[in-house]
């Protein structure tokens, strides 16, 4: 028998492959049972699970108390979360645990449903997401490593507005999203000027890419901007939110990235964790992108993984696109380089009374409209706590009005006491104003709901 070179992973890779073949939003919805069927077939046929150094694991099932560290579910976790969401979040948690306990050196969770459009406050399903898997994972990690520095690089074609929002004021989380320009695609956000709150300036970064961007454009952004930023930020953990809908065959987007482009992007990022997000070209793209990503994460050669219909000469990026991306990257580089000299009040206005954001959030999947005010109690010594007021309506019918206090784990004592006092005060005085009060207290690891 001829001796063949051994296919051995350079990085021990944990694979949490959970296609949830018995769950869907509806039979013809993009998020349907067979979304990962063809990926499973390709992964099996390529024999990836037999490779020395690639091991498969089942997901954990997250508990409601894991969920509420990231998402305040209105009215309750049980109303927002099905088993599928608990498993998808649990898969991300298991992936992180495998890496942090050194059972593997990297982990890839190929799971559904995705999570990156879920905001901190959740009234329903939005962009196919109910629960922010990755945020749940981060809070699970921070239970053990409260000061850990984590960088997200979200490579889904849709702006990762949910994850961005949850960590907008968090200086220990760098969130970079590369996506199709929000002027041309859901959710319509993710522009250069979204840079995080006053306590976490330039810890949120967005790279909107013009429709028609190819491997060349997205890899340019990675090499010229993302990698140097990662180098400067020096995170303990790099997470690739591995959406796959920038693919040239995706039915929901207008991008031109290939499977090999995705694999190369992943190899350049060299993430510790990858978590699948969107990607709905389930037959023509996902099988090949996922095989490419698995090989890239395992440190193996992915160069012969391509789509059967891949024709690089048909995917040439126009000069205008190339120049547009270059101009953006130049601008971003400037922002990044000047991040420490910036006058915060010039950007955010006076911070004496904190920092407020008004949000109108539309839940496309559940047809809910939410009006929200988020007030950051800005503090130079800590990330500060959030006071959130929210009212949702569905089909013209108003739902309950709620208020929530969200307290980060690393809050300073004086802010913490102030936040708790405010919650107590609201309990006695705000009966007229709200239907329910929520306390998300990560410092004490408690979650309280007060219904008037």
């Amino acid at each position: 028998m001829n001796k063949v070179p051994e296919l051995k992973a350079k990085n021990k890779l944990g694979l949490i492959f959970f296609p949830a073949f018995d769950w869907e939003i509806s039979p013809t919805h993009p998020e349907r049972k067979e979304r990962l069927l063809y990926t499973r077939d390709q992964v099996f046929e390529e024999g990836l699970l037999d490779i020395n150094g690639i091991a498969e694991f089942n997901p954990d099932i997250a508990e409601p108390e894991d969920i509420v560290r990231a998402n305040i579910c209105i009215p309750t976790v049980a109303d927002i979360c099905t088993k599928s969401h608990l498993i998808s979040a649990g898969a991300a948690m298991r992936a992180a645990e495998l890496v942090l306990t050194d059972q593997v050196s990297k982990a890839f969770a190929i799971v559904r449903p995705p999570g990156h459009h879920a905001f901190r406050l959740v009234h329903g399903a939005r962009g196919f997401c109910n629960i922010n898997n990755e945020a749940v994972m981060v809070e699970a990690i921070r239970k053990h490593y409260p000061e850990i520095k984590i960088a997200f690089v979200d490579t889904d074609a849709h702006h990762a507005d949910g994850t961005q929002e949850i960590f907008y004021h968090d200086p220990n989380i760098l969130h970079i999203s590369l996506h199709q320009d929000g002027r041309t695609l859901f959710p319509g956000s993710g522009f250069l000027n979204e840079l995080g709150g006053p306590g976490a300036y330039a810890k949120t970064l967005n790279i909107p890419l013009p429709p028609g961007t190819t491997d060349q454009g997205i890899l340019y952004a990675i090499k010229q901007f993302v990698l140097p930023v990662l180098h400067d930020f020096a995170p303990d953990l790099v997470i690739n939110s591995a959406g796959q809908d920038n693919h040239y065959s995706d039915p929901l987007t207008n991008m031109n990235v290939s499977a090999r482009g995705y694999a190369e992007l992943n190899a350049l990022l060299d993430p510790d964790l990858a978590i699948l997000q969107g990607g709905y070209s389930i037959q023509s793209a996902l099988p090949y992108i996922n095989v490419g990503l698995i090989l890239a994460m395992a440190g193996l050669d992915y160069s012969s993984v391509t789509e059967p219909d891949y024709q690089p000469d048909k995917l040439i990026q126009s000069k205008q696109i190339t120049e547009k991306i270059k101009r953006e990257i130049d601008q971003l580089q400037q922002i990044w380089q000047q991040r420490n000299q910036i006058d915060l009040e010039e950007v955010y206005g006076s911070l004496n009374n904190g920092y407020k954001r008004e949000k109108r959030i539309f839940y496309d999947t559940d047809q809910i409209l939410e009006e929200q005010q988020e007030a950051l109690n800005y503090c130079p010594d800590c990330p500060g706590y959030l006071f959130i007021e929210s009212q949702a309506s569905r089909g013209g019918f108003r739902k309950k009005k709620i208020a929530a206090l969200s307290i980060p784990r690393l809050i300073c004592d004086s802010c913490y006491n102030e936040a708790l006092a405010k919650f107590e005060e609201l309990k006695t005085t705000a009966r007229q104003k709200y239907d329910s009060l929520y306390l998300q207290d990560l410092k004490a690891d408690q979650y309280l709901i007060h219904n008037f």
């Binding site: 073949f21 039979p27 013809t28 046929e45 390529e46 024999g47 088993k83 993984v305």
Partner: protein
């Protein structure tokens, strides 16, 4: 009359069973004769015929109706690489580089491709086959295997290559088409399996001709079967196409022997079986009476294959394992220097410990003449070594107080711990199997055996001790010395079928049956109809009137745009392994 013969590494066992004359029900067999001869590694045929002749002579049988052989022929050929060179023709398309898959003496990589739906994406080029064929001829390669990625979803490209080869001037000894080996996806495993199949074809053909001739000479005309790795049998004539299915039949013979001799399948109990030999202990598992299969396929020569096999693990500890003191610690196995010291061997073994500790006193059927003095002398040398070593972690309570007897108990404790831990790990691994649906993930699997079925020389003494530690019931298998031959004799033919229907593409594929055709307009194949087809085809391919069961069902819609344009259904059905007849209970004592 039925004869079962199992060719093992050291011994070849045979058994002849017959129905009692008065009663001709299938459950009324009786063991008439048994035999055990030394296996001649370079002449397996001789060993088989010796065993056969012994059985015929003992029983005065004039004729036998059924002869089942479990041999190491193909396994040895693969392990020792004793076969003519094999050439591979691969149709990999894009994916992992085929540099990792070129196991052939010569490897031709064609540029065709079939995708996961079985759609041909790229045609194969005849000119490439033509050029490649030349290099096969130059190296006089006569064994060829053709393997395409996703060929079980569309075998046309493999078949086209085969047709070309068959039409070529030179004759090939063996031609294997990858899609016929299994209905499972896994291109690298398909390649390895096809390679081995081509490799062992010739030696298998020669064996088949020789056994037929030998039987003719003896005027015996039994139906001839071979035991497969999955615990089922296959008619010799049918095995010529896929001889690779007969590799590694030894563990299957053992498990089928346990099943037949314990009737665990009828009792439907969850049980662990232990076959404790001289140097190894084989562990098997029955869940509610059914033997468990290897999750993916068996591994031979360190290579993963698609060959379905019964779950069996082997640990390198047995009654004759060498016991040494290394760095102040006891080490049992994996080597064997000879028989137990009590039987005149050169070194202490677990058997000596069992003898000294008094566990063998009543084991009368133990046919060796044991000398207790010799066992004690061997163990006392270990006591001395342990006492001189300072860091003896094993010693309870202290090295000074260690006696030959307490050491014997210590050895047995350590030995049984090792086996118990391995059993627990096996169960944990099987329970931890990855699943892909929410319902399976929520339904926690617990495998809770209630019974330990033991056989092999030292089993009588050890099974009780092991069962105590595991909190199972202990049970000894009768006739355990010829259990493998009994397993072979009674095993029924097994078969698996994978029916795949893609109504959107209008295709029907049944890889194992070589069926690949377009659906007719009238064929809708809803889920119920698909299941019926799987059962029907399996029944047709089956040789026995045993129940056919469905083991796996998948059904998914195919959506294009926002419209449902069809469905993909994959149904697996099987005739599971089991006995064709049974021994009558009251005659089972040895």
């Amino acid at each position: 009359m039925i004869v079962g013969i199992d060719v093992g590494g050291t011994h070849t066992d045979g058994v002849l069973v017959a129905q009692k004359a008065a009663d001709s029900t299938a459950d009324n067999y009786k063991i008439i004769a048994t035999t055990k001869v030394i296996t001649e590694q370079d002449n397996l045929m001789n060993s088989i015929l010796k065993a056969l002749d012994n059985l015929i002579e003992q029983s005065n049988a004039k004729q036998i109706e059924r002869l089942v052989l479990s041999t190491t022929l193909t396994t040895n050929a693969i392990l020792e690489e004793k076969y003519d060179p094999v050439g591979l023709i691969l149709i990999p398309g894009p994916g992992i580089s085929s540099d990792y898959l070129k196991y052939g003496a010569e490897n031709l990589v064609l540029s065709g491709y079939v995708n996961h739906r079985g759609q041909q994406v790229k045609k194969i080029e005849q000119s490439e086959i033509k050029t490649g064929l030349k290099s096969f001829m130059e190296k006089s390669i006569k064994n060829i295997a053709v393997i395409g990625k996703f060929s079980i979803r569309n075998p046309e490209q493999e078949l086209a290559v085969l047709a070309y080869l068959k039409a070529a001037e030179n004759k090939f000894t063996s031609l294997t088409a990858g899609h016929r080996l299994s209905g499972r996806l896994n291109f690298p495993r398909r390649i390895v399996t096809a390679y081995f199949n081509s490799a062992v074809t010739k030696i298998h053909q020669e064996f088949s001709a020789a056994i037929k001739q030998a039987l003719q000479k003896r005027r015996l005309e039994p139906e001839l079967f071979l035991l497969k790795c999955d615990g089922g049998t296959i008619p010799l004539a049918d095995s010529l196409e896929l001889p690779v299915e007969t590799v590694n039949s030894g563990p299957a013979a053992s498990i089928m022997g346990v099943m037949t001799l314990s009737n665990i399948d009828q009792r439907q109990q969850t049980a662990v079986s232990l076959d404790i030999g001289g140097t190894t202990t084989d562990i098997g598992l029955f869940i509610q009476g059914e033997p468990v299969f290897m999750p993916d396929g068996i591994v031979i020569n360190d290579l993963a294959t698609l060959i379905r096999g019964l779950y069996s693990i082997s640990i390198p500890i047995g009654g004759d394992s060498l016991i040494q003191v290394i760095k102040g610690e006891l080490k049992i196995g994996p080597r064997r220097l000879g028989p137990a010291a009590a039987a005149g061997g050169p070194a202490p073994t677990p058997t000596d410990a069992l003898l000294v500790a008094g566990y063998l006193a009543e084991a009368e059927s133990y046919d060796k003449k044991f000398d207790l003095k010799k066992a004690e002398t061997a163990l006392s040398s270990l006591v001395k070594q342990l006492q001189t070593a300072n860091n003896s972690k094993n010693i309870l309570p202290t090295a000074e107080k260690l006696t030959v007897h307490s050491l014997a108990e210590l050895i047995i404790d350590q030995l049984t711990d090792k086996i118990v831990n391995r059993i627990r790990k096996m169960l944990a691994d099987l329970e931890d199997k990855t699943v892909y649906t929410i319902s399976e993930l929520l339904a926690e699997v617990k495998i809770e055996p209630e019974l330990l079925l033991g056989m092999g020389g030292p089993a009588k003494a050890l099974v009780k001790l092991l069962a105590q530690k595991l909190n199972y019931q202990a049970e000894l298998i009768p006739y355990s010395k010829v259990a493998n031959a009994v397993g072979a004799a009674f095993a029924r033919p097994t078969i698996t079928t994978t029916v795949r229907i893609d109504t959107a593409a209008g295709q029907l594929d049944i890889a194992e049956a070589g069926i690949h055709r377009s659906l007719k307009a009238s064929e809708k194949f809803n889920l119920e109809q698909s299941k019926k087809l799987a059962l029907k085809i399996t029944k047709e391919r089956s040789l026995v009137k045993t129940a056919v069961e469905i083991t796996d069902v998948e059904s998914f819609n195919v959506i294009e745009g926002f419209r449902t344009v069809g469905a993909i259904r994959e149904i697996k059905a099987q005739v599971k392994p089991g006995p064709i007849a049974r021994l009558k209970g009251d005659d089972q004592d040895e």
